[in-house]
């Protein structure tokens, strides 16, 4: 039934429908779907990536660079951002948009599911390099890990079979950094719907990443000296909300024990 020409294909369809009128609605639905696919192919062909980049850059130059000469002049000499941000690579969640971060404000790492791996110089030198640079060289004051709704990476983590089989070359290997989050969610909310489990995992994974930040000695040092703080965030673009929380690390008053009396501090 292979027909090379469009006209022949349409004629054959009309012939079939004249014989089997009950197939009309089925044919209509399929034709709608094909029309939609062809429309997006047409749109793709009309899209000029270079033109898009050029327009974007010229707009930035006119509206931002030329209108803020003091800021950009200062930035040519160096950067001193207060924040280091870990955000997902997802095209919908750039923190520059939702938090209106300006050039020079945040040293930003973006990866699948905004994960921070534990200290490992062989496997995870990329993340470690970024944290080391931000904390020791740029001396950022806050590290913020921002998760988000409908995260494909977290969905992949939650969908990975427990027997360890993988369908991807690198993705599953990466997202298993936050396997502890998946285990926690499955244990606590194993009966919930998959979508709800993913939402819980998106937030739990942020906390796993915050915990992983503590495996870097320069981060621990910054926390103890109070020159660095860690925050977690969650951007829900379905509801249009943003949550922010802090990981607090401190020393409780010491416990004094003597043979005469036992003194317990109120925080024990």
């Amino acid at each position: 039934m292979a027909n090379d020409s469009y006209e022949e294909a349409i004629a054959a369809l009309q012939q079939l429908l004249s014989e089997k009128a009950e197939l009309g609605p089925v044919a209509a639905a399929k034709i709608d779907r094909i029309t939609g696919e062809l429309q997006s192919i047409a749109e793709r062909k009309n899209f000029d990536p270079v033109e898009r980049l050029k327009n974007g850059f010229i707009h930035f130059k006119r509206e931002k660079f030329e209108k803020n000469p003091n800021l950009f002049n200062k930035l040519t000499k160096g950067q001193s951002p207060k924040f280091m941000v870990f955000a997902c690579s997802d095209s919908r969640v750039c923190p520059s948009h939702m938090l209106d971060l300006q050039p020079g404000e945040a040293f930003m790492v973006r990866n699948i599911a905004n994960m921070v791996p534990a200290y490992d110089k062989i496997r995870y030198s990329g993340a470690g390099a970024a944290i080391e640079y931000a904390v020791l060289h740029l001396k950022v004051q806050e590290i913020v890990v921002i998760g988000h709704s409908c995260c494909g990476g977290i969905k992949g983590l939650m969908s990975t079979p427990d027997d360890g089989t993988t369908a991807s070359e690198f993705i599953e290997d990466w997202v298993k950094i936050c396997l502890a989050a998946k285990t926690k969610v499955k244990a606590e909310s194993g009966d919930s719907k998959f979508g709800d489990q993913c939402t819980k995992c998106e937030k739990a994974a942020v906390n796993v990443s915050l915990g992983n930040l503590l495996t870097y000695p320069f981060v621990r040092e910054g926390l103890v000296k109070n020159t660095l703080a860690l925050k977690g965030g969650y951007y829900d673009f379905v509801k249009g909300s943003f949550e922010l929380w802090s990981l607090d690390v401190g020393l409780s008053p010491s416990l004094y024990v003597s043979s005469e009396n036992l003194y317990f501090s109120e925080s024990a």
Binding site: L53, F83, R92, Y133, D248
Partner: protein, 330 residues
């Protein structure tokens, strides 16, 4: 040492309800240094929620109201009022128990007050103005670009190239490096796999920039092969091919000038490393994927862009490549 979590929910504007703002609960002034507010994790379950309904409240008004409520908590810890759910009005609902005394809001959170304000502005000016678009995006993303850019705070691709939500899948790492396939799993190639195989992006753009600290570290390394306690060196050594070519080409120039050269050379090395991934090479050969390089010079705000000419390159043969469609925007 103890770890404690507290929840500070930045004010949210949800179309249905109004403004939600929650504050941390118990605070024991004896156990914490005065800089921060904190409480134990066991107490986190008992959350005190302050609900303020009424969209006419501006952010500073919320701040004022917040402080008044804190005072009243001190005096009457079990204060409980009924929440008005239907009409806008000021409501206060405390879910929980006797509180210990509460300290002042710490100065360290001013930065987050700023973030709250910015998010609310984004929500009002952009999100709600384009609600249908954001709802479409919530169902799925179909970006046409994947961008690999540096983590440098001055070169966010959303700013300099004006990418809007949904347009570009972005990976940012130190010195915008792409390791070759043979290096094994890294964060960058997990993102590549997702963007190319799942999202099926049509363009990959590697964006480098001037005064790159990572490239400077690469060019300053005394001995790239020596083991080092530094993470930075362990990572930037991915760009060693660019360093070698730079030294071979412009060894007579000073370090800064060599770095400028290396910044661009490294972009091309990364583009060639992209072709070491079979599923990328396959799509490029079929014309489904294009590889572009970009260089942002923020001293004079110029952008140079080029495309890897894959018909003309034989990357597996001594790293040869050619480029086409070079443009310079200023």
């Amino acid at each position: 040492m103890y770890l404690s979590m507290f929840i500070w929910q930045v004010a949210t504007l949800s179309p249905q309800v109004g403004i939600k703002f929650s504050i941390p609960t118990q605070f024991n002034p004896k156990s914490r240094p005065p800089r921060r507010m904190a409480y134990r994790s066991s107490i986190c379950r008992k959350r005190r929620l302050l609900k303020i309904f009424g969209s006419q409240l501006k952010s500073w008004e919320i701040e004022q109201t917040h402080m008044r409520f804190l005072d009243s908590f001190k005096r009457t810890p079990t204060l409980r009022l009924k929440a008005l759910r239907e009409s806008p009005g000021l409501t206060q609902e405390i879910i929980d128990n006797p509180q210990k005394s509460i300290g002042p809001i710490e100065k360290g959170f001013d930065a987050f007050e700023e973030m709250r304000h910015r998010f609310l502005s984004f929500k009002k000016d952009k999100y709600l103005e384009n609600l249908e678009h954001y709802q479409t995006l919530a169902r799925g993303q179909a970006p046409k670009f994947m961008v690999i850019a540096c983590a440098d705070s001055r070169v966010c691709p959303s700013s300099i190239l004006g990418f809007q939500p949904g347009e570009a899948f972005v990976v940012r790492n130190v010195a915008n490096l792409v390791p070759p396939h043979e290096n094994g799993p890294t964060e960058t190639n997990a993102a590549l796999e997702f963007a190319v195989n799942s999202l099926e992006v049509e363009n990959i753009l590697v964006v480098g920039h001037s005064c790159c600290g990572g490239i400077h570290a690469l060019m300053s390394m005394q001995d790239e092969m020596s083991s080092s306690s530094s993470f930075i060196k362990s990572w930037v050594v991915v760009g060693k091919a660019a360093r070698l070519r730079t030294i071979a080409a412009v060894s007579d120039l000073n370090l800064d000038q060599q770095c400028r050269h290396c910044e661009k050379e490294s972009i091309n090395r990364s583009l060639l490393n992209l072709l070491t991934y079979p599923w990328i090479e396959d799509r490029v050969e079929k014309g489904m994927l294009s590889l572009h390089g970009g260089y942002y010079d923020f001293a004079d705000c110029t952008f140079e862009k080029w495309t890897l000419d894959c018909k003309g390159c034989r990357p597996k043969v001594a790293g040869e490549y050619s480029i086409k469609n070079r443009e310079f925007w200023s």
